[in-house]
């Protein structure tokens, strides 16, 4: 493809466009949620989020005042008022429901027997007649209005205070942080033993860790729930921390062991020769050198625990005070399926933290994935 200049540039174009479309396709769903979370209820329910940056066109009608509101001016009877609400602009108006935009702003039309109606661009109307008005209800003016694109942070206020998501946010934090920190420590020591200590059964244990990587969580739910009940842990934070620690350990040990095996042998050997104890070697050499692998696992575990619904539902209670954010979301989807502004905003709050972590520490995440999957590939 290098030799054929014309063909090459068209190929480059095709690649650029195809890649762009793919990226767009993958980004749009999240973008829709983000935009929707800044729109109010009416906007979400009446138009698609992709229209929120263009002016919103709407039609409706307004009744003029009645004869009682008329004032006399130069021998004419006049009723004045406005057809617009705050922030709207007038696109067109009419006097029949079928033609809500029959007239341009500023035009004048005759309704019946000498009644003249003018609607100005600023929305003020003026209905005049040579004789007194005798009507019990006002005339209808049909209007086509445009409202400028409007985004609001109102949803966020409401969700964080009234809907209890603030509480759920704290719950999620409370579950996630210990459940991320504790397995790292336990795994680091185990990984060091598996990587650098000689003892019988080492290969078997390593294989067991690889095997346990894929055990479906479902297998553990019923036995552990019963075990926790029998031990008196019951449902609560302690139980969920222990559970997440247990479930996260295989990956932690696996990732860390693979990384530690690759550390230079000479450094460790020479420290041993110099009389350092294993504990000192671990703390002063292995741990600092393994930082990238520790970071990788920390991100995995953080994302996994934060995003988890199943373990939280089973090991934590399901009352309003105990729900984590995924639990709240799930409840909202069931009970308030139509309240998209609440749902979209809550969902965005719950995915905001993982997204920040993701973009900030992507390097370590990628490194961890590669260490786990393409060894030697």
């Amino acid at each position: 493809m290098e030799g054929m200049a014309g063909q090459k540039s068209s190929l480059v174009w095709a690649v650029n466009i195809a890649a762009f479309l793919l990226v767009l396709l993958w980004t749009i769903p999240t973008l829709g949620l983000l935009v929707s979370s800044f729109r109010d209820r009416d906007q979400i329910l009446t138009s698609g989020w992709w229209q929120s940056f263009s002016a919103q066109e709407a039609t409706g009608f307004v009744r003029t005042g009645t004869g009682d509101d008329a004032v006399q001016e130069d021998g004419q009877y006049v009723i004045e008022g406005t057809v617009l609400e705050e922030g709207q602009s007038l696109i067109g108006w009419g006097i029949r429901a079928r033609e809500p935009a029959a007239f341009q702003p500023g035009e004048t039309t005759e309704i019946e027997d000498g009644w003249q109606l003018t609607v100005a661009e600023d929305g003020s109307y003026r209905l005049t007649s040579d004789t007194p008005f005798e009507m019990r209800r006002g005339e209808r003016i049909f209007v086509t209005t445009g409202a400028p694109a409007r985004l609001t942070t109102e949803n966020y206020n409401r969700v964080l205070t009234a809907e209890g998501l603030g509480r759920a946010f704290m719950n999620t934090m409370t579950v996630t942080i210990p459940a991320t920190v504790i397995p790292i420590l336990i795994a680091a020591f185990a990984a060091y033993a598996l990587a650098w200590m000689e003892f019988p059964g080492r290969a078997l244990l390593t294989a067991a860790v690889v095997g346990l990587l894929v055990v479906p969580l479902q297998v553990a739910l019923i036995p552990l729930l019963r075990l926790h009940n029998e031990l008196g842990i019951g449902k609560g934070y302690l139980g969920i921390w222990l559970a997440h620690t247990g479930f996260g350990l295989p990956l932690a040990i696996y990732l860390l062991r693979n990384y530690m095996v690759g550390l230079p042998r000479e450094v460790i050997e020479s420290a041993r020769v110099d009389g350092a104890t294993e504990f000192q070697i671990f703390r002063k050499i292995i741990l600092p050198l393994s930082f990238p692998a520790l970071a990788s696992f920390a991100i995995f575990q953080f994302l996994w625990v934060w995003n988890d619904l199943l373990v939280a539902t089973v090991f934590l209670g399901n009352t309003r005070e105990q729900l984590v954010m995924t639990g709240v979301l799930r409840e909202l989807m069931g009970s308030k399926g139509g309240e998209w502004e609440i749902l979209a905003t809550s969902a965005f709050i719950s995915i905001a933290v993982p997204l920040i972590v993701f973009f900030a520490m992507q390097k370590y995440l990628v490194r961890g994935l590669l260490a786990g999957s393409v060894k030697g590939g």
């Binding site: 493809m1 290098e2 690649v15 890649a19 762009f20 793919l22 990226v23 993958w26 980004t27 769903p29 829709g32 949620l33 979400i44 009446t46 698609g48 992709w50 704290m170 934090m173 942080i177 504790i182 020591f189 033993a193 598996l194 200590m197 000689e198 003892f199 390593t206 294989a207 067991a208 690889v210 969580l217 297998v219 739910l221 019923i222 036995p223 552990l224 019963r226 222990l242 559970a243 247990g246 350990l249 104890t277 294993e278 994302l303 995003n307 619904l309 199943l310 995924t326 799930r330 989807m333 749902l343 969902a347 719950s350 995915i351 993982p354 997204l355 993701f358 995440l365 590669l370 590939g377």
Partner: protein, 331 residues
Amino acid sequence: MELFWLAIGTIVVGVFGCVAWFWGSNMILDRVYPPRGPNAGDNIRKANQIRPWLFLGPAILFLGVYLVYPIFDSLWRSMHNARGSEFVGLSNYAWHMGDGKFRESMRNNMLWLLVVPALSTLFGLIAAQLTDRLKWGNIGKSLIFMPMAISFVGAGVIWKFIYEYRAPGEEQIGLLNAIVQALGGDPQLWLTLIPWNNFFLMIVLVWIQTGFAMVILSAALRGIPEETIEAAILDGASPWQVFFKIKVPQIMGTIAVVWTTITIVVLKVFDIVFVMTNGQWGTQVLANLMYDWMFRGTPDYGRGSAIAIILMLLVTPIMIWNIVNARREVR
């Protein structure tokens, strides 16, 4: 605030506890078998036999209690009745085989297994190849990778919004129906559209997993020796031929790894179905069915455990394959 201190307290206690265990047990070991004095050599040897188990102790305890014991306990429970009081042999399994919901779940899980790993890997491969040489490729990759950080539940909300339905002729607020209507079609209730609703659920997982596949495959593509590609180009191979006949065969091993990893995710898929359809309209899957037996109405731990064990059996071939591969690498 109370909660905050509880969390901080736990971290401190947990971390302190771990450090105390590792540091304390090592210190005691060094006291009992001091690595100096007349018996230094003998002591060091003895200490080195014990020390690995001190390092491994907590991990083995956790793995044992939280992963190994449950496998056997589930197996035991799956052969007992609802409350675990009576041995019933394989009758829970037999009952499931005749159950319509279980068959539906098995069928759907198989569909997921066919579709999701295939599409995720395919899109991942395309994305990896397309973004590889572009100036803005890394940004593009980040964006395709991003759904990986989003919870299945969050993704469920995102996609439910896309599938949202309004009666024909009305303003559509769901993207998919808006497109369908703009093209002159009738809007559909996608999530109740049997049997296609299964595919609309699968799309959510494909959307999440493609980034994973892309990252791994992209690294593999870069690892391909340049000479092989150059040689092919010199021989007059077209870009398509280079991709399919030179590059893809060389990364087959990695494709297999990606495929199996996604397969495991798919087997356990729960959240997406749970929050989007809850297994109604013919979309039930094994993990959600098990949840039903565990928590809906009167729990039946026997039948629930039987489904868990079936999931375990489905994962086992991949587990063995992984172990064999890992052992080969260790040597």
